[in-house]
Symmetry: C2
Subunit: 244 residues, 2 copies
DNA sequence: CGGGTAATTGACCCGGGTCAACAGCAGTGG
DNA sequence: CCACTGCTGTTGACCCGGGTCAATTACCCG
């Protein structure tokens, strides 16, 4: 039951115990509970704080004038919603809960007080990875076929989940609906369903009842042409590691 | 002939003359010239500095194992290539010149010396806008039809160009080739060509000889369902404006 | 004049969208 | 306890937007 933000940042650099205490404190104060499907942010809102996802999954999305929706990101435990976004007048996207959610609200002052050199670098690394993920989504939707695309999203979520929590040999909770996957992948729910069926039939995924397992990771990564380099999970900030 | 980075940042907040002098100095030292098509960064390279585009256009892209290429961004004068990217071990994308390029190489130390409170906020704003653009590309490729998508890209570049230089009533230099537009839009060059023909026939764009004009901006924005909010160009940091 | 790159056009085809029906299941109220 | 409703997932039949392939034109630039 470790703090997922700490787990994630320590994929970059080992934090000091002081830093861990600070982050733990922030993740347990000013908690807000949000029901499934409810909104955290509406497009056009002013952002008054940085929301840290503590428990549950969310997604952010944009809608076109005629109602078409594109999910632009999934937010997992340990993810920050729009760090520094409070310097803008209004949010350019909406954020809604996929599951019941617990978020910690960090005021701009609290967020900017995370200013130890190591934490600053770790939070910058997190922001760079977030950007890299958004780039990869562009590649995914722009170039991969429906089957590859579906597999790639599953793999990305798999790797991101792995870096925030203990690995469960039996798989992962995977609470997103097919309509949400579809809107994230730029395809229809019907076709998403068919792609998932193929992946199941080929024994590349074991997905059901909001639970996912990947029996043959290498095969799925090969199919999706998945290259994890964009997640920058190789302890890239090891030279900053805390000693204690 | 003003510094395009200054023009851009002043869409957020008015800089002090000291800050403008500092940015001008950085944009005229350690210049590097790059021929059209040449690479600035290869995927996998370690980033040793922050490149500031001073003159010319570039694009960044990723390639899949089988050669498919997705352009993930166009870089215009005043754009920074991967600010803070030097904290990563390696770049997850490549950057290449679209036209002959002049870039200023900022060392990490020089870049981090841009630490006046106002500049820090302005650079954060720029990074937030860059992220918002990448999100919008996801929406564009995921949800818009080929025609809407083509129009949207043209409009985005139009607005970004406007914010870095004087408006030219006769239009803009628009040096990208149709194959590049195609790879940015996740479609084929053949189809991109057909979409451009439609836009020309409908008198929504006037494009030829590397030069673009938009005779009826409102009509094109309507077709593309273009909402400029994600570019955050409304002088959102006015409360930070310098007095001098 | 020749060679290479970019734009254009036509003919054909397929991946994924659309539409519609149906099944499974959880919640809810009588 | 069961009927009813609504949401999610599943399947089938049909169709179209955009891809593929190939040929042609239009420029540069040497």
């Amino acid at each position: 039951m470790t703090n997922p933000l700490i787990s994630k940042l320590e994929r970059f650099t080992r934090l000091s115990s002081d830093e861990r205490v600070t982050l733990d404190a922030l993740a347990s104060r000013k908690l807000r509970r949000i029901r499934s499907r409810e909104h955290l942010i509406h497009e056009g809102d002013r952002l008054t704080c940085v929301n840290l996802i503590v428990v549950g999954w969310a997604h952010s999305y944009k809608v076109l004038a005629d109602g078409r929706r594109q999910i632009v990101a999934f937010l997992l435990p340990g993810d920050l919603c729009d760090p520094h976004g409070y310097i803008l007048n209004e949010s350019d996207h909406s954020i809604a809960a996929v599951t019941p959610l617990t978020v910690a609200q960090l005021s701009p002052e609290e967020f900017e007080a995370l200013n130890s050199p190591r934490l600053v670098q770790a939070l910058r690394w997190d922001a760079l990875v977030t950007s890299a993920i958004q780039r990869e989504w562009t590649v995914n939707i722009g170039q991969r076929s429906a089957l590859e695309r579906t597999a790639h999203l599953i793999l990305e979520l798999f790797h991101r989940l792995e870096s925030i929590g203990p690995i469960n040999a039996k798989g992962y909770d995977f609470p997103i609906r097919q309509t949400e996957m579809a809107d994230a992948l730029g395809m229809t729910a019907v076709h998403t369903n068919r792609m998932l069926q193929i992946l199941r039939k080929e024994h590349l995924i074991d997905l059901g009842d909001k639970h996912l397992a990947i029996p043959d990771l290498a095969a799925l990564e090969c199919l999706a042409m998945f290259n994890p380099n964009y997640l920058h999970l190789q302890h890239e900030g090891h030279h900053l590691d805390a000693k204690d």
